[in-house]
Symmetry: C2
Subunit: 488 residues, 2 copies
């Protein structure tokens, strides 16, 4: 008995063209959540997704998330799609999350083809907005369910899904929905694990399971001086200039090698021992990979372990820009009256926005006091999110690891991501269960860029992976309940 | 015999309302040179000015300055207006410069009244775009000429004028015109001195003659790293970030007290001795004045001499902003791929853009090398202009000083401006004669701001001052030629 019956694999291969056609249809709906002009398309996409999942037997509820204000207009939020299939107490209940909205895209941004027409390239890439982020993965689940529906096969798990249409625009309304539905009697009541497919492989070769995300604290350093912008001819060397103060302050935050200079921040993190370094050594990743994706030879180290740990297990501080200063082309001789330096710190455990804030505050206040400027200074925290790391030995990960091995014939890289996927923590905290990040696409998919793509093989093998993953979850259930007496 | 006949003073007082009405007419023409939509209004203004000066007997030539590109359109440059009245070899020939174009202005910018309707306030302020910069002063000359014309009085000097319609937009085409007309046989051939009325008193109380301007060198520090903007989650602490390098570099340029940290730049300037400090001590200016105009208590010193010298006789370095970084509101977690820091140095003699550039270049190159970043770095000089200081004992200044005393009953403050008026240097170099800056308006006129105004008293007394100034020039001629035998 195999966890991945040939019948399922053949079904996916035989229906590949139909699956891609369905992905084309999804891509053709311009569900850009960040542009009010496309809001009706996001609604259309919510309906389309609902129809598709209903057609394979899933009970669907479209949830009104209320209104929000965007670009000065009050807009209805796209309806979230909740799905349910199976309620067998002897099966594990898996909750799948995805989103059906996309980033903005215009041909004039530099796309080689119409971003809303899925275009198959000779090299197997399926180019189109949302192909990889996140319509492909959502449709991967649909493909899997279709196998069970069309062949009247019982699903090996109880299936729950939560698809939203605001992920690219701050997931407005989602936290409340997840908290509400996680309560007893809610849609997510009884969920045993969560699987999110909304991230990427490290490279273009090796599948990945992701068990950690960095958190974020975003800060704004405000320096206020004159009542209005001044002319540098009239006031230069006459008054304290806010930009001079701000640049001094910003220069004390991080060094050019990425070391955070705010006392206590880097110090919260333990040094990796030899064993932990081996985990990073084992990943299929090279300095060439990072430099290829950055497009320049600018890696901070020639040691891949250092570079990977910098991204995955160390905090980072980036200076993003300055609000209020001159930013246009050309030469303007202004002394800006009020400037706000933006920077953020990516956090790793045990850091939280709460325990890092006092360190940042103490540092910038002390540095500003040293300057002796007569301008006014204030630190603002714009928003924050905790980091997340989970247990890779949990059966949720074991199932995915075994499934990956079965489909791709290689062990997945176990990675932590440098970025944040806030919904991960929302589910982990609301449900108190293990969350697995199981990416479908490759590291070069260009999720938020022009010419976003999903490789055909990733869509098709990725579908097989999802189907196999839930099957292994079934085995895990059996293993757990039957004390490993069934042969795998 | 008086240099300021009562008849002239009475004429100005008696015609004040008519003069203001004429200023209203000038203000109502929306001659915004920086906005292509208003270009026809600048042309209209060139015609209007020509008509007005012709009506008081001035021979006028409107000069086509060719075309230029603005906002992607090819546009005809507004015609400059050259005027000529009198050719008596026994008289001095004075060349007057002014401009009839204005800065943009919209009611929605925060104007209390329509910017193109000159509005007399109960406190005597005439509010309107261009009232002070520079239609008021140009019309001051017209008022003076009208006295001579209407009363058939011979003008005490030979009059030449040069009015342009592109001053607020880089004075395109003017340098070539001035150079061409300064040659033998040109419109400006034989000019003995220049008078420009396009700056302001130091405060609201005391008239000013200006004998110096700072020059300018504007620089751009370009740091290039990745091929495109990166996500700080994915790349934070993985690659050298251009913003980190740029902020470090910018922090080495100037300290919070205005001292320039680029070795050799401040050192080019001699220290003021006791005698020179007295010149600044004598000016009607206080720390309160600078802080009132800045709108905050942020003066670099409590010593007014230090503050005035910082503005007038010392170079200054201002950090203007960063191109390419995140500048909007909100929180964007971007690692900008290419950032350009903008800063400029205001220059004083003996500094020139040419002798300061190597110092700046050596400094930033050495500081960038110290960083050890793998990003690419480049210094660009965007534009530059020399400083200008002239001889305040020249008869051109003596005449203006005597005229000021006669009209305002007080000695003018002799000042150097912190900013630049490039046309000053153009005339000084092309003609090789003394240039006097003789402001009509006050320090709080808000030339480029909302609610620009000219005080009625400054317009009327300023007209008297211009008329008296040329009269004193006549006396100077007589003095020079007749060895002081005529009683003043």
């Amino acid at each position: 008995m195999s966890a991945t019956p040939k019948e399922f694999l053949d079904f996916v291969d035989n229906n590949a063209d139909a699956f891609i056609k369905r992905l084309s249809e999804a891509v053709s709906i311009k569900s850009v959540s960040g542009d009010a002009a496309y809001r009706s398309e996001v609604f259309k996409m919510s309906d389309w997704i609902s129809q598709q999942f209903k057609a394979v037997g899933v009970e669907i509820q479209q949830v009104d998330l209320g209104k929000h204000i965007m670009d000065g207009q009050e807009l209805q939020l796209p309806k979230a799609v909740l799905g349910r299939l199976g309620n067998n107490p002897n099966k594990k209940t898996i909750l799948v999350y995805g989103h059906f909205d996309v980033q903005p895209a215009n041909l004039s941004d530099g796309w080689n083809t119409d971003p809303f027409v899925l275009t198959a390239q000779p090299n197997g890439q399926l180019v189109g907005r949302g192909s990889s982020d996140d319509k492909g993965p959502v449709l991967g689940w649909l493909n899997t369910l279709q196998y069970h529906h069309d062949n009247k096969k019982e699903l090996p798990v109880n299936f729950r899904c939560c698809f939203e249409g605001m992920e690219e625009n701050g997931s407005e309304g989602l936290d409340e929905l997840v908290e509400r539905e996680s309560k007893p009697g809610g849609w997510f009541d009884g969920v045993d694990c969560v699987c999110i497919s909304d991230n990427y492989w490290l490279n273009t070769r090796t599948p990945v399971l992701t068990y950690g995300l960095r958190g974020l604290s975003y800060y704004k350093l405000n320096i206020t001086g004159p009542a209005r912008d001044l002319h540098s001819g009239v006031f230069g060397r006459t008054v304290h200039e806010p930009m001079t103060d701000l640049i001094k302050l910003m220069s004390t935050l991080v060094d050019v090698n990425g070391k955070i200079l705010i006392p206590g921040v880097d110090e919260m993190i333990t040094t990796a021992d030899v064993e932990e370094r081996k985990l990073y050594e084992a990943l299929d990743y090279s300095i060439d990979d990072v430099e290829a994706s950055a497009g320049a030879s600018i890696a901070l180290s020639t040691d891949k372990v250092e570079v990977l740990m910098g991204r995955m297990r160390m905090p980072s501080l980036s200076l993003h820009g300055i609000e209020g200063a001159f930013y246009g082309p050309g030469a303007k001789t202004v002394i800006p009256a009020k400037v706000s330096g933006k920077f953020s710190i990516r956090l790793v455990p045990p850091q939280t926005p709460e325990n890092v804030l006092p360190l940042v505050k103490a540092h910038v206040e002390s540095e500003f006091a040293k300057l002796g400027s007569k301008n006014k200074f204030e630190l603002e925290e714009l928003h924050g999110g905790k980091p997340w790391v989970t247990d890779i030995n949990h059966w949720n990960f074991q199932a995915a690891r075994t499934a990956t091995k079965a489909i791709y014939n290689k062990d997945p890289d176990m990675t932590r991501e440098g970025g944040s996927i806030p919904v991960t923590l929302t589910f982990a905290e609301a449900l108190g269960v293990n969350v697995l990040l199981l990416p479908m696409g490759r590291g070069d998919d260009g999720a938020h860029s022009t010419n976003e793509k999903l490789d055909r093989s990733n869509f098709i093998e990725g579908t097989k992976l999802l189907g196999t993953e839930i099957r292994w979850n079934m085995y895990n259930v059996i293993c757990i309940f039957q004390a490993h007496i069934m042969p795998l």
